[in-house]
Amino acid sequence: MASLNALILVCLAYVVVLFGVAFAADRLAARRGARWLGSPLIYTLSLSIYCTAWTFYGAVGYAARSGLEFITIYLGPTLVMIGWWWGLRKLVRIGRSQRVTSIADLISARYGKSNLLAMGVTILAVITVTPYIALQLQSITLSFGAFAEADPSRNYNDTTTVFWVTAGLAVFAILFGTRNLDVNERHHGVVTAIALEAVVKLVALLAVGIFVVWGIAGGFGDAMARIDASEIGEWQVNSSRWAVITFLSAAAFVCLPRMFQVMVVENEDERHLRIAAWAFPLYLMLISIFVVPIAAIGLDLMPAGANPDLFVLTLPLSQGQQGLAMLSFLGGFSSATSMVIVAAMALSTMVSNHIVMPVWLRARGDGASVSGDVRNIVLYSRRVSIAVIMALGYFYYVLSGGGAALSAIGLVSFTGIAQILPALVGGLYWRGATRSGALAGLSVGFCLWVFTLLLPELGSGLLTARVIEQGLFGLGWLRPQALFGIEGLDPTVHAVMWSLILNTGVFVCVSVASIPNALERLQGAQFVNVFDHSSAPRGWTGSVAQCEDLMIMSQRILGAQEAQAFFQRELLRQGGRGPLPEPTPTFLERLERELGGSVGAAAAHAMIGQIAGGSSVSVADLMAVADETAQILEYSSRLEHQSAELNRTARELREANGKLTEISHQKDAFLSQVSHELRTPMTSIRAFSEILRDADGLSAEEGQRYASIIHDEAQRLTRLLNDLLDLSVLENGQVSVNIATGNLGDVLDKALASALTGTAGKLAVTRDRSQEDVVINSDLDRLAQVFINLIANACKYCDSPDPALRISIARHGTVLWVDFIDNGSGIPAGAQRMVFEKFARVNPEKAGGAGLGLAICREIMQRLGGDIRYVPDRPGSVFRVTVPNVTELKNSGTS
């Protein structure tokens, strides 16, 4: 019977099936064809990578050596699973909402995204898991060996087998574990394959167990009797080990990178825990239910000195059950391969994310801006990491000689990885936990683990017998297996106790003593209160409503038409029939990119995460969003500022231009006016002087008359020039104001005398002398000029047959109103506004002046801090002069 060759063929066929399953599952997942891929059953089965070859083969050996103690390895996880509502649910929720990629990532995220901590956890994980991988390789080799022993052809080489097995597993892990980068893009292929393997190993073990109990022994009762009669027929469990290993297995169940990978990272839906909570303990119970019978009957039937670790394989073989042995072999092979693949994947993620990438980015010297380029680097580094981890396991196996040393590795490994527990649990339930505390606790635990367990158990060459006997540096209390002088403890119990107690103690003390930074505090709150921050679980399954939300959001951001076009395109791409595309990771990624173009990458990520991932927005997200928003705000406010400035400048320019144009017009108009006013008298002067010169036969009377016209016009010219000069001086502010104190009555007297000279008393002037007795502070000459002008105007323009002028005075505080009221028809309403303008004349025929009089008056009054205005709607014309700086009202009659 060429059993070894057959075995290799079956083995290869099995591997091909696994590849096929993984490939098909990936394809199905990509097309979202099969809902069952994300079912709780698959999730539960994938958790079974907890049961490695160590438990498949080793459990029987363990039972053969120590009785029922082996079962503690399963009791711990059982307790963790049935307490899922308070423990795992939180872990899974955090893992989802924080988009955690590994246990190292989780610890690092909790403690303020500390990469140092992540590196520490990663290194610890690599150190603990690598020997464990070697153990799996050993089990495969041993099982091959068991077949080879029974095979006459015997051309079998341990090392070669291990090499090919390692290479094959590495290829599998690389192919299905590093196809894509996105954490949300779960490894459906791998998970489905290990679920299949979980079934195979359960079926195999149950088959062997049933064969043993009902095939070899005579049924259940007989089996029990044979157990009681066997070497392990009595309860011989060390109770401290019972408790400690139960605890240890519970801790490892949560902390092991591969467990974290399947339990949290690959978790499709938090609600799967509900099923797994009873289904996985059931799985564990079933897989361990026949362990003791197999061990007892193996001990009974197999020759003394046979390796009890291989009873599962050798017992059927010895009974001639080749097929059963083959199945059993496949079960063991499945246990080993599934563990190795997932462990390598999980470790590679950690190594690449927390060691390779930071180092690479630092070496490059620029920021971690993720581009396609970097994504490729990450994938590449993961692949290399898988290869390196597998190579480490291989070399560890080869160098350790594959001897019995490896069998101890299970608990050593568990103890090592359990050092993460204080930081993990503290991080999940205690907001006061800090980075420094976690780092210190982890370091202490790690050192103690190495010193008390790893070196004494495995590295016998590294730790001399003298150190073990007499302690480090000859100090008795530093004996690795009897720390602080406490002797007599089981080495494992001793190591677990001291390392975890001191780890926790240091963690708590340093946490209390140190002050967390802002990011730590925020993350701490996010973790501890994760159920307040994140939404209830929504798996990919309840996706239609999700997609509607996405559609609504996209329409708001992209605009209705573009969003609809985008969704339509995606629907076509997916080849779906429904009204909306399925929210596959690819679709979400594309949508995120699309939205990112509009609102910024971080905001898009946060929004999609909120809707699709059921994940809460992480602090980094918020910060990135805030950054982007700030940038946008700054940019837009800058734009706004610029445009406001531009507007202001433009307005100023327009105003300036308008003013200039107006001034230019005014100047033109003024020049034109001046020209007109000058030329008009000159025309008369020239015409009449030519007449006087040329015309003969002029009467003396005519000559007289024309001469006087010339004289009048010349005077008019002079007056005009004087006024112009006066106005120019006033307008340019060159006039000097001579403020003097005087009596208003005196000023009026002077003005009346001047203005009425030569008018032959035609104008009757009424005054109220008692009111005029006011002392004013002003330029009295200028004020007199204003009064003269007004009185002269009354003379000239009053159209009453008996022109009369009344001067009335009224006091308002420190100002004085001096009204000049005539009894004429007044100034027409349309012209009232004009009268103070230059060259404005209401009635040109009567104009004796240049039309500058009132303009000059206004200028003067403004200079003096007063005002002059026309009071409308009165019988006759009323000019009101406001005189400021009235100090005193004298008693009438004193002057």
Partner: protein
């Protein structure tokens, strides 16, 4: 054989000077000092020639000229325009409005007489 002039001018002294000159030259001179009804005055008087000031109360000389030219039969009536503003723009506007001759104040008496005689002669020939 009419030698009839209508003079529209608001400056009394200038009116008197021109009236004196033209009367001595044998013209019948009607004067008017307001722009508002100047067109009617001209149409009523039906003169051989019009002397028009630009700056007039009520209605500017330019407008009067335009309105006058719009009346049938008045297209070729000689109009001598006098202005004291003397800007190039005014001359252009006047020419557009159909002025026969444009003179800037102050003018010499001979110039006015010559212009009036020339315009009258031209009108008679045309």
């Amino acid at each position: 054989m009419g030698r009839h002039v209508v003079l529209i001018e608001d400056e009394p002294n200038i009116t008197e000077a021109i009236r004196f000159l033209l009367t001595r030259d044998g013209w019948q001179v009607d004067t008017h000092a307001d722009g508002t009804d100047a067109v009617e005055v001209i149409l009523n008087a039906a003169p051989d020639l019009v002397i028009l000031d630009v700056m007039l109360p009520g209605k500017s000389g330019m407008e009067i000229l335009k309105d006058l030219r719009a009346v049938a039969g008045m297209e070729h009536l000689p109009v001598l325009m006098l202005t004291a503003r003397g800007q190039a723009r005014d001359r252009e506007m006047a020419e557009k409005a159909g002025v026969s001759r444009f003179m800037t104040k102050p003018f010499s008496n001979t110039e006015v007489l010559t212009a009036v005689r020339d315009l009258h002669a031209q009108a008679k020939q045309g």
